[in-house]
């Protein structure tokens, strides 16, 4: 076991004093190699992890290949329309059988010795087959290996490397309805699609910092002051973020998931569907029409929530769905305590008008992405924190106490840190050996 004497994440890494309203996380949790290895074993090897979206493999023969939690995966739809998630590794000697990130294929041929697998994973060809005993693949053990568990929820494909994981819908708990909301956008109700173009980037920081940052309402006015200046230059004013006609709060959604959500109270427009003055009357009319269509399909209350509200959804451990000025799906994975890789996609309603699609992409990029007006500054903060943690022996604790005394009330404020405490409590429990 990779434990040192006295190691116990419950007793030292997280201070969770509800009576006094004090919540602290030890900075060693961001730099320690043993913690990193425990996270791989007890979190990433057991939790449900986002792997892809059904729109990426909508047609028979389509595949995408990408790493999930460091493992090379191959997600495809076979000629009969069945979805598969394989390990992208030849059962002979291990080479990756698929070398392209996306495409169409009826079979996958290993470039090393030429073993060929059908799109349903069956081993269908081995060069010089007469030298093999029939026993070699008698039980199909040389077919491409499927991951232990995969499932789809409202178009989002998840995998788990733990065959005994609880069912995905149970795992998602109350976050499931928020994922469903992210699949209900658009006038047509025709489902969602991932756009072309992937943002693949990284940060020289601990991965948990991004989960903390992705729904942090408290940092907006300082970290993103220059983005607010841009909105002011374009719109003439910045909408008051928290006291406009809606509400804002953070919620614990169970099992480590959380959301920061509001209605109206953010300073950006939404392509589904909340206009801004600079977008003009035509766009406003079109977005109001999208709202009416969605109200007809989903009911006014839900359509109001989806169209006029914003949600930063955190699904434990490493999925962020930001339903803000655009809709982004972001996942990330560490290869060291101080380095992780991020992949982000744009999700959009199928059948959206070209005008709204163009607006959506422009709106996405004004804030989000590694060349946006905000994301690089978030990354800078993560990396500044990580550098600061080099002094963890001198300054031991992060403070995440904000709003703690009221966290069980009706409506913790959006700038509170309940969402982070929700993450850390789950992290602490899983590291201590709790069941997923």
């Amino acid at each position: 076991m990779n434990q040192q004497a006295g190691f116990d994440p419950i007793s030292w890494a997280v201070v969770d004093d509800r009576a006094r309203g004090v919540f602290r996380v030890h900075r060693r949790a961001f730099v320690d190699q043993q913690i990193f290895e425990l996270e791989r074993e007890r979190i990433f090897s057991r939790c449900w992890l986002y792997a892809g979206h059904v729109s990426e493999v909508a047609q028979p023969g389509q595949f995408v290949a990408r790493p999930v939690a460091g493992r090379p995966l191959l997600i495809n739809r076979d000629r009969h329309g069945r979805l598969h998630v394989f390990f992208n590794s030849c059962t002979h000697r291990g080479a990756m059988v698929c070398r392209e990130n996306a495409g169409r294929a009826r079979n996958f041929s290993c470039p090393y010795h030429g073993w060929t697998f059908a799109d349903d994973g069956r081993l269908v060809q081995q060069p010089i087959p007469e030298s093999y005993s029939p026993a070699c693949n008698a039980a199909g053990e040389l077919n491409l290996r499927e991951v232990p568990r995969f499932d789809e929820f409202c178009g989002f494909i998840f995998v788990s490397f733990d065959a005994h994981a609880i069912d995905l819908a149970d795992y998602l708990a109350e976050a499931g309805d928020y994922l469903r909301m992210a699949s209900e956008h658009g006038a047509a109700g025709a489902g969602m699609e991932i756009l072309g173009g992937t943002q693949t980037y990284c940060a020289k920081a601990n991965w948990k910092l991004l989960q903390e940052n992705s729904a942090d309402g408290y940092h907006a006015d300082t970290t993103h002051a220059s983005y607010m200046d841009y909105i002011k230059a374009r719109e003439g004013a910045v909408l008051n973020m928290y006291t406009a006609k809606g509400f804002g709060r953070v919620r614990n959604l169970g099992r480590g998931h959380a959301v920061s959500e509001s209605i109206w109270g953010t300073p950006w427009g939404r392509p589904c569907a909340r206009s801004m003055p600079s977008w003009g009357e035509d766009i406003k009319a079109e977005l109001d029409g999208v709202f009416e269509q969605m109200a007809g399909r989903l009911g006014r209350e839900r359509a109001d929530f989806i169209c006029h509200g914003d949600r930063n959804l955190l699904i434990f451990p490493n999925l962020v769905v930001n339903d803000v000025g655009a809709l982004t799906v972001r996942t990330f994975y560490p290869s060291a305590p101080d380095y992780f890789e991020i992949t982000a996609w744009a999700l959009a309603p199928r059948g959206e008008s070209q005008r709204l699609r163009d607006l959506r992409i422009r709106n996405y990029l004004e804030f989000l992405g590694p060349a946006g007006f905000a994301t690089p500054d978030d990354q800078e903060m993560l990396e500044l924190c990580q550098r600061g943690y080099q002094a963890h022996a001198g300054v031991e604790w992060n403070d995440l106490s904000r709003g703690m005394l009221d966290e069980d009330g009706d409506s913790p404020a959006k700038q509170d840190e309940l969402q982070m405490r929700t993450f850390w409590r789950r992290w602490r429990d899983l590291l201590a050996g709790a069941e997923v």
């Binding site: 173009g197 990284c202 992409i361 060349a371």
Partner: protein, 170 residues
């Protein structure tokens, strides 16, 4: 604006050296962080684009780019990067824009220019390299020089790892 026949005549006389001088001037403005002057190189309908690293031939109105700036936004990008609150570039990184392999082709009322670039960025002990090629649509300015109608900087890296971000202007 010059009338069309004179524009055509002038464009057909433009030498590669003239275009290179313009591109070197742009690179120099960027490396000296004179970004408002950089933004003023663009026409009123100017665009600055960076396609996604996995889709260099993508269409910004359909695919998720890294940068899809109209003239207003590229001006605001320049203005933002001059602020202390543009944290990723405070203090400013040191950059060096290298331009080579310049080709010039007249096309209607403009010049289609392609070039290769390498941009080096250094900050806080981290050195990053951004290689790629740029496609420019240049038009003639009133003073006889050039303005950028469109700049599309296509990165040759297939992920932004280890760079992590494009917080500078390429």
């Amino acid at each position: 604006m010059m009338e069309s026949a004179r524009v055509q005549a002038r464009l057909s006389e433009v030498t590669r050296t003239e275009v290179e001088d313009f591109l070197f001037h742009e690179a120099d403005l960027l490396d000296r962080w004179e970004l408002d002057a950089w933004a003023r190189l663009f026409t009123d309908d100017g665009e600055y684009l960076i396609p996604p690293t996995d889709l260099p031939d993508g269409d910004p109105s359909k695919d998720l780019f890294l940068v899809y700036d109209d003239r207003h936004r590229l001006g605001e990008r320049a203005k933002r990067l001059g602020k202390k609150s543009a944290h990723a570039e405070f203090p400013h990184s040191r950059t060096r824009h290298m331009i080579s392999n310049v080709r010039v082709r007249p096309s209607g009322d403009m010049l289609r220019v392609t070039c290769n670039f390498v941009v080096y960025r250094s900050k806080q002990g981290v050195n990053d390299i951004y290689p790629g090629h740029s496609e420019y649509d240049l038009v003639l300015a009133a003073d006889g020089g050039f303005c950028i109608r469109r700049k599309r900087a296509v990165l040759d890296v297939d992920t932004l790892r280890p760079q992590g971000k494009v917080s500078i202007i390429l």
